[in-house]
Subunit: 260 residues, 2 copies
């Protein structure tokens, strides 16, 4: 029987609804009073307490694993590790990125596209990430998906991809600023390594948002990636890269088997 | 008239109420469907969406400041920016690092030292960070302070400092593992740029701990720093570096005055 995964997330307050919240709440219970401080339980009406709900059906073991808490270890992956361990693993898995192709081909989410550069080599599509409900800018999160399908991840990038990366940086920023009013200086723009899916994509998140996956062991600023490639076209082909893996992930076992 | 401050906080889900949430919700609205993924808005009944409410009355200016959100902006600092804006600012401030010297000279916190390499050029002292109470390993946080006093920050590092950095990486990790039982693969070891004080230091935090300042716009993995310097001794002298500044910070004003 196929598993159905349900993800529930509380979302940030919407500023324009705060007054409603304080006026319309059905119940306010005093919990504690001390000097100038007092605490209450406030029970808001349903329309003011939306919960973001994501359903994955059918959900695979991999989907479930992603959300279970697990011991995490850092891997320092050399170029050789990538070729001998990571790449064969990626290829053996043949992860589906059909949902990405659906977006690129306008078969899904076409109405959600914020910006597109249609060039097949240096173009991309910018869409809000699943994780962002677009109700408030605090947790703004968009994804730029490259049109070309032959770049899996950061490791594949060379100087050849600079025009694409620069398009994403410049046009993506302009589009977010135009649509959402957030200036470039308040956008954290980065790639993940390892990514969660192997089709080149770039994350745009609000700088003030402590977005999952924005920490130094996973995120690589697009500006740094561009500068590194401009200085040395094979920078990401050669150098060691650090990432974290949960102990139950198949790739972690591959690294263990390889004696790392 | 006295100000009344009201703090609203959404609280984590209670596991034992999750089933109620899925059964009793009054409304479920489909937002988007793509392949095996779909997202919904769920509007729970009041008793399942408590909001923690704190009232401070009368509230002082100090109370208000603590909760006012400050705008934060990214700066992309070139080498020239560093020389023309950042460095003059650092020098004009003459920030005191007397507390660091006190530790290095055993005039303070001597009993807290976890490890020392006494070499004046390539040695360092490892101490628990102020922020860590050492009661639990979840938020483990230590700091390695270089003995030499002529290195302010990441910008100053060259190939000359590789022995020092490698000592910190190797001996620091060994010491943390020996004292606290945390293996190297579960340590996030990094420098800040900008740092909060201009005496070379390296952060050791538990990988599972979402430590403040561990995000990509501030943290630089020590392993990456070492590799970059080994490849190009002047890597950090030449390249642009990104960091975030609050709009009320003096250095931010300096960058504005410089027209950045």
């Amino acid at each position: 029987e196929a598993a159905r995964m349900i993800i529930l997330e509380k979302t940030p307050f919407q500023e324009e609804k705060l007054l409603d919240l304080l006026k319309k709440h059905t119940k306010l219970e005093l919990q504690m009073r001390n000097d100038i401080y007092s605490t209450y339980h406030l029970y808001p009406p349903p329309e003011l307490s939306e919960i973001k709900t994501t359903v994955v059906y059918p959900a695979t073991e991999k989907h479930l694993q992603k959300y279970l808490r697990q011991e995490v270890h850092l891997i320092r992956e050399t170029r050789e590790d990538y070729e001998n361990v990571t790449l064969p693993f990626i290829q053996s898995q043949s992860f589906s990125v059909q949902w990405v192709y659906n977006i690129l081909e306008k078969k899904a989410e076409a109405d959600r596209i914020v910006h597109e550069n249609p060039d097949p080599r240096d173009g991309f599509v910018l869409v809000p990430d699943f994780k962002w409900n677009q109700n408030q800018l605090d947790d703004l999160y968009l994804i730029a998906l490259a049109h070309r399908r032959d770049v899996k991840c950061l490791r594949d990038l060379t100087g050849e991809h600079l025009p694409l990366l620069r398009n994403i940086a410049r046009e993506g920023t302009e589009a977010v600023t135009k649509r959402f009013g957030v200036p470039g200086s308040q956008l954290r723009i980065y790639l993940h390594y390892q990514p969660s899916y192997y089709h080149l994509h770039v994350h745009f998140t609000a700088l003030g948002y402590d977005a999952p996956g924005s920490s130094v062991e996973r995120a690589h600023l697009l500006a740094d990636v561009i500068d590194n490639l401009a200085t040395d076209s094979s920078y990401y082909q050669k150098r060691a890269l650090t990432f974290a893996l949960r102990a139950d992930e198949p790739l972690f076992k591959k690294f263990q088997e390889a004696g790392r």
